[in-house]
Amino acid sequence: MSALPTSTTTASACWSCRAVTGGEHFCPACGKLQPLPRSTDYFAFFGLPRKLRLDTAELEKRFHQLSWKLHPDHFVREEAYERELSLNRSAQLNDAYRALRDPILRVEYLLAREGMRKEGQHKQQAPPELLEEVFELNESLDELRGVRRAGGDGNEMAALRAKLEAAQKNFQDALATVDEELDGIFGQWDSALDAGADEAVRRKLMERMNEVLNRRSYIRNLLANVQSELAEA
């Protein structure tokens, strides 16, 4: 581990030939790699619109094309400054690809970027439609721990295990439903972008996405709990 060398600030003129550049990866005049503006959007990095139902095959193709152009291996013989640009750019490329290829990370990135991702206050509350099941689950978990403390009666354990497995199935279904719902909003978001919808419409969609994401993370936590209890049982 070492300290990074100090990097440069954004330039609108090519550092090598002084031609005017507009934030492209390479100078349109001399073809030299350019420093990336600090605030570059991951979608823009790939030259893609900010749609959420992304064509992942197309994304992967662009990722490979850009890897060819930006990877440090292809700058080994260039001067230190360009080598550093390549290092930073390909790191950003990989960061961007990591965030965009996964639908959940993708929407989280978009919301964070727009200042619309708010996890906070509602996180700990069970979604109303799951209240009953969560209540049952907590009961089963308490019972299970009780039986285990008492030394574990075989029949009781088996019955509880079956209950937990049923709960697992329920939460897996709930997760699938939430993912479908999220994908539905993705579709609405993409159409809204195509239709040139205004700020208010977009904000409303982002608020809904945020709400669904919070619900999703609640269910995922429940599922993780059940699974770790099952693994122990």
Partner: protein
């Protein structure tokens, strides 16, 4: 600028390779003995002369206190990390060691990167002799599962050996690269699992080979492993079994006989190798009260090593799951590392993937060959092949309550980065402490500490400061850190104190010190070693002839004449300065004395066996 090479710096053996520009094929460079494998063994003479490779390995038997093997196990580790290894390996760790281990070799003390640098310098010498040209840059391979400190230590070793590490490449990835050259049509667009069980480390990598208009991309999807699992562990296991049996049978404890321990180790390693082809083999090992004669069967060996082989399957399953694939989806499975010659290992891998693994390439050489391919890509600017590797471990920072917040997940394609914003918690706080870690566990205490540093902030109300820290893992898998004060808009480099490893000043000092070793020219050193070896073999020959006379063993006139002529030839070559000639004459003398040596060995064995029978009665 000099030549560029690929180096496999292994636990047991190290190799150096290059790409032959006329054929485009990678090849290993042979050393002075014509062997491509250089034992990763280093020995230091009282006068400071360093001996590396085969001659150093021979010294394990005679000068074990100034000789070291398997130093790779110590790279990038602190004294507290290696307590378990010390019970098994005869490392003499300096008591002053803390976050960098210091090993005692005779009168001197060295760090693991310095010892590895001796091996690298030896290989560099082989290549320079071969090319008649300087070699100053190299691609060096590391286990895929090496952490930041272990990678940095490897890079430091290169620097100390006068080799700029152009790139550190993960061993399984290098193997895929070497292998891909031969099998490209079959695997294009395919998924490849590389199972690499070496002397001291185990790695598994899952790769995707993609053909694009520009060329082929080798994209690593996931990797996993264990940096302390390998053939060494099998050797240790056999050793402890044999020592226990010897203790019971002969009431003889090898603990206070380090030379005998090494000799037993060699015999057992030979037996292990033989059991890969044969169903049974017998080890004969003389001890003061007789001879330990033991038949080992393959079934027996498999019973002992099954837990070790099973330990590799955990990382294999995790890597396949992380790649979001099923084992049957692999198009190819490649075996790398000497320990994959073991039939049980082959069966286990084949059983899991449901596919016969590839073993066409020499598992000892394939990593070095791949490193040479990557070196050639970097050097020649050939842009029709690209490696996209991943970081094996998640990077995180310690937060409240000792919990780790992951900022770059494992299996992220490298280079990779993450920005984190830090602020103050109380009024007029002047510094923010940051602790960087690597690992998958929840708590900081269970992860590997990489570094601690403090961000200086101007005094002010709590929460006012805005310091952005950028963590970047480069294409070698090594972390770099930079901080930026968002208020002042200024970029600052920060003093980062690594938790393990050498500081820049320490490396500078070692570089100065190492000049005395570098000054000994390679061929000069070879000459000294060859003469030393000639001296000792002449001595041994004289002794055996004298002993033969004493025991009135028959040495025929013809035989005696042959031996005397060979002795004279060795003496004559020693007067000159051609180390290769000296070596050739030593070999000839060895040949000439072979029948005599065998007869004397049989006699000794017979006496010992007789002695045993008398005792049994």
């Amino acid at each position: 600028m000099g030549r560029v090479v690929g180096i496999d710096l292994g636990t047991t053996y190290s190799l150096i390779a290059y790409v032959d520009r006329t054929t485009g094929e990678p090849r290993c460079i042979p050393g002075p003995y014509g062997e491509t494998l250089c034992p990763s063994v280093v020995s230091v003479d009282p006068d400071g002369t360093v001996v590396v490779g085969e001659p150093a390995r021979r010294r394990l038997l005679t000068q074990s206190d100034r000789t070291i093997y398997s130093v790779k196990r110590l790279m990038g580790r602190g004294a507290a990390d290696v307590q378990d290894e010390l019970k098994i390996f005869p490392f003499r760790i300096d008591p002053e060691s803390q976050n960098v281990i210091r090993v005692r070799l005779g009168e001197r003390v060295f760090t693991p990167p310095e010892i590895s640098a001796f091996i690298l310098r030896e290989l560099k010498g082989w290549a320079e002799e071969f090319f008649h040209d300087a070699v100053d840059r190299a691609v060096i391979t590391v286990p895929a599962y090496f952490n930041d400190a272990q990678r940095q230590a490897t890079k430091d070793a290169g620097r100390l050996a006068g080799l700029e590490a152009l790139r550190l490449v993960n061993e399984p990835t290098a193997a895929a690269l070497a292998y891909g050259l031969h099998e490209k049509p079959a695997t294009a667009g395919g998924l490849v699992a590389v199972y690499d069980l070496g002397g001291g480390t185990f790695d598994i990598s899952i790769l995707k080979l993609i053909s694009t208009g520009e060329g082929d991309i080798y994209q690593v999807l996931s990797t996993n492993g264990d940096t302390h699992l390998g053939g060494d562990d099998i050797d240790n296991l056999l050793q402890s079994i044999a020592r226990e049996e010897i203790r019971k049978q002969f009431r003889f404890d090898l603990d206070s006989h380090p030379e005998a321990v090494q000799e037993l180790r060699r015999a057992l390693i030979r037996a292990k190798h033989e059991l890969s082809a044969a169903e049974a083999t017998t080890v004969r090992f003389p001890v003061p009260a007789g001879v330990y004669v033991r038949e080992f069967t393959r079934a027996e060996l498999e019973g002992w090593i099954r837990p070790l082989v099973e330990r590799t399957m955990g990382p294999v399953k995790q890597a396949v799951a992380d790649a979001k694939l099923a084992p049957a989806q692999m198009h190819e499975v490649v075996l790398v590392g000497g320990s994959t010659r073991i039939p049980l290992v082959r069966r286990s891998v084949e059983g899991y993937f449901g596919r016969r693994p590839h073993t066409e390439l020499n598992p000892d050489e394939v990593v070095a060959l791949g490193a040479a391919v990557q070196a050639e890509i970097l050097e020649s600017g050939v842009k029709n092949m690209l490696l996209l590797d991943v970081t094996p471990l998640s990077l995180g920072i310690e937060t409240m309550g000792g919990v780790v917040a992951k900022i770059i997940p494992r299996n992220s394609t490298i280079p990779a980065s993450a920005q984190e914003l830090f602020t103050t918690g109380v009024d007029n706080q002047t510094g923010i402490d940051i602790h960087v870690l690597q690992g998958e566990r929840e708590l900081a205490k269970d992860c590997r500490s990489l570094a601690r540093f403090q961000l200086k902030v101007p005094p002010g109300p709590a929460g006012l400061a805005r310091i952005e820290v950028k963590f970047l893992i480069d294409a070698n898998g090594i972390l770099q850190v930079a901080a930026r004060d968002l208020h002042a808009g200024e970029e600052r480099s920060i003093e980062v104190q690594p938790s393990y490893g050498l500081s820049d000043t320490e490396i500078e000092r070692m570089l100065e010190e190492s000049i005395e070793y570098a000054e000994q020219d390679f061929s000069e050193r070879q000459l000294i070693e060859a003469r030393n070896e000639a001296e000792s073999i002449l001595h041994v020959t004289e002794k055996s002839l004298a002993q033969a006379r004493e025991e009135q063993a028959e040495v025929g006139d013809a035989e005696r004449e042959t031996i005397e002529a060979a002795v004279a030839a060795v003496r004559e070559s020693m007067a000159g300065s051609d180390y290769k000639l000296i070596r050739a004459r030593i070999d000839a003398l060895n040949q000439a004395t072979l029948p005599l040596a065998e007869r004397m060995m049989n006699r000794a064995l017979a006496t010992a066996l007789e002695g045993k029978r008398v005792e049994d009665v």
